[in-house]
Subunit: 129 residues, 2 copies
């Protein structure tokens, strides 16, 4: 085993995981680097946006993994730190996301917009000023 580099990556629980992966590819230019698909079509997918990793998996309530659709809300926002947030948000909306607020310069020192994706996860997209 090579040396472990400490990292923290969210694994988003969704319904329709395979379709969610396609959304994240279209919205954020994500690349899938690993995928396991079960016989019933459920997926676990590892994705990279320019090297920044996250995971997507079909929900499995029996393992305490719930989609936002099931809980009617989500418990984690995803902070996507990226150049050109307005372009990223526009692309995500074109792919099916809904804007919560547009990209703007916030008093806390970030240029940032917020969207909710078609699977119910919220993304704050931008960068520090």
């Amino acid at each position: 085993m090579s040396a472990v580099v400490t990292s923290v990556a969210p694994m988003l629980s969704v319904r329709e995981g395979a379709r969610a992966v396609e959304f994240y590819k279209a919205a954020f230019g994500a690349v899938e680097t690993y995928r396991v698909e079960s016989p019933d079509g459920d997926v676990v997918s590892r994705l990279s946006i320019e090297g920044a990793e996250f995971w997507v998996a079909d929900e499995s309530p029996e393992h305490a993994n719930f989609s936002p659709a099931t809980l009617n809300g989500c418990t984690t926002r995803i902070i996507l730190n990226i150049a050109e947030p307005a372009a990223v948000v526009a692309r995500a909306i074109a792919a099916g996301a809904r804007e919560v607020h547009p990209v703007r310069d916030e008093e806390y020192g970030w240029r940032q917009g917020r969207i909710v994706d078609p699977f119910g996860h919220h993304w704050e997209i931008g960068h520090e000023l």
Copy 2:
């Protein structure tokens, strides 16, 4: 502004944010690198585990940020990729987490354990084999 390095970081919604920050420090050796505290004591905190970043914030249902306690479940697991997962899990349990399953070698190629923290967020802790 310096060049933006793309990153993805989860922001965990919790009740009792200030207490949650103390838990993550004790459990994972997290260091707080930024904190905003509102007059009523709510916090937004940026934390780093050996350079791996995540955020913690008091829930604000009016902004669609829900804690696991409010939704009775969570919609994102956190993958903490780290050396010596058994030691990390033991430390987290000593700090108040509950073990979901112990660290073990999984057929999908990771040595990994799972805990749920006192604020309801689930962590998969380990590394690829």
